[in-house]
């Protein structure tokens, strides 16, 4: 440590002066080779960036991006305010990297009860920056070049890009619509996997399957039989299951959300992803979690400690208190997890009515706060452009927000490039909105219908 520090700085600065011929002294020095990493190839486009901007510019009624426009429950906001403004200054500094102790403890307790198994809060639960980051950790932890990951279409768009970023290959298997019974509206339950088709996608390169139930965008709630089908294939082919259950509380008509990890042979190969944003109507808090056996979670921890390391303390403290409350009120009428789906079911029914009356054909969702509708009857407003690069539903959604002020998301956003044309007559609405917003949407739709028929 007492070594002379080599040639002096002065020497270097003198040398520099004598090499004044460098073109590098121009203030226009630029990187001359491709600067970005190859892992970004094919994942740079993001539909949300485009559609959020359009909604911000043109929408009077925004039923596009999935977030509630009503506030989170008072008990939760108060918990956050207490965490930020209270006496415990430690809540402004780093907490435990893998999850604030009060939060992982209550999550382990709460979900342990639901899963019928004892969860270790320190090893079986990890807190993340939204469910989005939990998904990222899963793909980074488990997927390598040469791996295939089965993705059920339509899918939350990040699954495809995250698999690609990890160097893996997404393999798509579509939910297929069965015609509804005469006179009835189509339900998300009418969209089903073909068991033989699903089985054919599994091979020795298959590393994982991504399951999203309740499903965004369709609102499908996978039945026990459907989950068993998937579970059997996972066990047979020794495949992991990444189970995105962020809408777990938003199930309607008395349906049950079944956790695939509770099926035989599945706990040991499943990572469950959850979200405070969806659970407590606070998407902007960005608190999510991953749960599963230590042998899987340990690898998520490795990714986490090398990417974000810690999540915001105060928000975790508040969510922990929210869950404490729900734990004591579980199943009771006062429980937020009972009240929220009740309210949203009503809103779902209003929007279904509005769309049906206007001539758009809604697919009634069993869960989530999304609803997909068929816009074929409105095609006369937006003429088809043959040989267009852009999918029809995307053009339609853009036209609709600019001309009618109503924002929705084209369904082709939720499928792979090759299959976009299968969904080009469908758009997705979000109904987690105040009554006034849904009424305003209804007015736009009815007026539009009248303009068509007059």
């Amino acid at each position: 440590m007492l070594r002379r520090a080599g040639l002096s700085l002065r020497h270097f600065l003198l040398e520099r002066k004598s090499n004044a011929g460098y073109s590098s002294y121009s203030s226009e020095a630029k990187m001359s080779r491709p600067v970005q990493a190859r892992r970004l190839e094919g994942i740079d486009k993001n539909i949300w960036v485009e559609f959020v901007k359009l909604a911000d510019t043109y929408a009077t009624v925004n039923l596009g991006q999935g977030f509630p426009n009503f506030p989170p429950p008072d008990f939760l906001k108060e918990a956050f305010a207490r965490a930020l403004g209270g006496e415990d200054h430690a809540l402004h500094q780093y907490t435990r990297a893998f999850g604030h102790p009060p939060l992982v403890k209550i999550l382990a307790q709460f979900f342990g009860k639901l899963l019928g198994r004892e969860l270790d809060p320190m090893t079986d639960v990890m807190v993340t920056v939204g469910a989005y980051q939990a998904l990222f950790c899963c793909f980074q932890a488990f997927v390598d070049e040469g791996d295939e990951v089965i993705v059920i279409e339509p899918f939350f768009d990040c699954y495809e890009t995250m698999v690609k970023m990890a160097g893996g290959t997404p393999v798509f298997v579509p939910l297929r619509a069965k015609a509804p019974k005469d006179g009835k509206l189509m339900s998300s339950a009418d969209w089903q996997l073909d068991p033989a088709e699903l089985a054919s996608k599994f091979n020795k390169r298959t590393k994982a399957i991504v399951l999203n139930s309740p499903n965004n965008p369709l609102g499908k709630v996978f039945s026990r039989g459907e989950l068993q089908l998937i579970a059997d294939l996972c066990v047979k082919h020794d495949v992991l299951c990444i189970s995105d259950e962020v809408y777990e509380w938003l199930v309607y008509d008395g349906k049950e959300h079944i956790r695939i990890a509770s099926l035989q042979g599945m706990w040991d190969r499943t990572v469950i992803v959850g979200s405070a944003g969806k659970t407590f109507s606070a998407t902007g808090w960005k608190v999510g979690w991953a749960m599963g056996p230590n042998r899987l979670l340990q690898h998520l921890r490795t990714v986490h400690q090398n990417s974000v390391y810690h999540c915001a303390t105060a928000a975790q403290e508040a969510v922990a208190q929210g869950f404490q409350r729900e734990f004591t009120l579980y199943g009771k009428p006062d429980s937020y997890f009972v009240q929220l789906p009740k309210e949203l079911q009503q809103k779902r029914d209003w929007l279904v009515q509005s769309l049906d009356a206007a001539g758009m054909k809604p697919i009634v969702p069993e869960g989530t706060y999304f609803l997909v509708a068929d816009i074929s009857a409105f095609k006369s407003d937006v003429p088809d452009v043959p040989n267009s690069d852009e999918s029809y539903d995307s053009r339609f959604a853009k036209w609709m927000v600019k001309n009618k002020g109503l924002a929705a998301i084209p369904l082709s956003a939720f499928c792979c490039e090759a299959h976009k044309s299968n969904y080009n007559h469908l758009i997705r609405f979000c109904f987690a909105k105040e009554e006034a917003t849904l009424k305003a949407a209804n007015e736009i739709l009815q007026k539009w219908k009248q303009e068509k028929t007059s």
Binding site: G6, S24, M31, R38, I43, T95, Y132, W285
Partner: protein, 348 residues
């Protein structure tokens, strides 16, 4: 990034950098500076690349570079024992580390753990090498406001030819003493930041809204008083300087020679004068790891071993050093004083 926050950041940094910064294209808000480091490295570094890291280094640089598939190349700071407390890079050694595979150099100023504030001349040498070898510079400046009397924080991105090739990283946690808010930012030219944005939209997509809103409001308040000594950027630094001096004094009274930092809130010190014999403890561990563990259990005082901030090859060079953090309230420093004053009594 939340619009009001990126606008506030662009105003503050336009003033500091003396150039126009577009809030929507030249800034990305991330989950802590840690998240900016991750987004930068994932966006711009890959297999086949080499990344120069100056040792000792904030420990995440190495695993992040490896996770991106690249090779970290280390160059140590060397301590000049000439009465000043300056550490210096061996400039020939540094120049030799640059080659055609070098994609980036990671710079950390003010430096954690040593507390060095790189001078304009030193930054110029690094800048020249970056330009000569067409290399990027990832400049971790989280402690940018914590610079003590006589020193000035210089942003390498403001040197000629550097804006186009530099990502500058900052931290709300360090700027506003809210590490648990986990908000940071990366600032640079659009053609680089756009790639960080792609990583961000594929990793966590958004950062918490309410915290960004609060931070934006704080920045507006301080932006308006950037000419005023009461601005938190300066008042925190003044407060920390007296804590730095106190910490140094406490260590000196025990017979140690701490390396007085010019910036940041860490202080490193060689503990060999304390002559704590740990040869009977696990030999494979570096001395400083054993020392810190022993100190925590027997003296109830905790610090961090410096070899945690070194590559395997260099660990032995730094194994007599430990790092103290002095951004603590007075009662904590009082308690440290009691422990240190009683140290000699017990070992005598």
């Amino acid at each position: 990034g939340h619009p009001s926050l990126v606008k506030a950041l662009s105003q503050v940094y336009e003033r500091v950098c003396g150039r126009k910064i577009d809030p929507l294209t030249d800034i990305l808000v991330t989950v802590g500076a840690y998240g900016s480091l991750f987004s930068t490295i994932q966006a711009l570094i890959e297999e086949g690349d080499e990344v120069i890291i100056i040792e000792p280094f904030y420990d995440c640089y190495e695993p992040m570079v490896k996770m991106a598939g690249a090779k970290p190349v280390f160059v140590p700071l060397r301590y000049k024992n000439d009465g000043s407390s300056a550490s210096s890079a061996d400039w020939v050694e540094l120049a030799n580390k640059f080659n055609s595979k070098t994609k980036a150099i990671i710079l950390n100023t003010p430096h954690n753990p040593v507390g060095k504030v790189f001078s304009r001349e030193e930054l110029q040498v690094i800048a020249d090498l970056c330009i000569k070898h067409d290399t990027l510079c990832i400049s971790d400046e989280v402690y940018e406001w914590l610079v003590y009397k006589g020193k000035k924080h210089v942003k390498i991105a403001t040197l000629p030819g550097m804006w186009e090739r530099t990502i500058t990283i900052g931290s709300a946690g360090k700027t506003y003493s809210v590490t648990g808010w986990k908000l940071g930012w990366a600032i640079g030219p659009q053609n680089l930041i756009k790639h960080l944005q792609v990583v961000h939209q594929n990793t966590l997509y958004t950062c918490p809204t309410p915290l960004q809103e609060a931070l934006a409001q704080a920045f507006w308040i301080d932006y308006k008083r950037m000419d005023d000594p009461d601005c938190y950027f300066y008042s925190l630094s003044r407060e920390l300087e007296s804590k730095r001096d106190r910490m140094a004094q406490l260590l000196q009274e025990v017979g140690l020679k701490p390396v007085i930092p010019d910036g940041g809130y860490f202080m490193i010190v060689d503990v060999s004068p304390l002559n704590v014999d740990l040869s009977d403890v696990d030999e494979k561990q570096p001395y400083d790891y054993k020392f810190v563990k022993w100190m925590i259990t027997s003296k109830k005082l905790s610090a961090i071993p410096l070899s945690a901030f070194c590559s395997p090859e260099t660990k032995r060079q730094f194994e007599k050093y430990i790092r103290f953090c002095f951004i603590k309230k007075d009662s904590t420093l009082d308690a440290a004083e009691v422990i240190l004053k009683n140290w000699n009594k017990q070992t005598a």
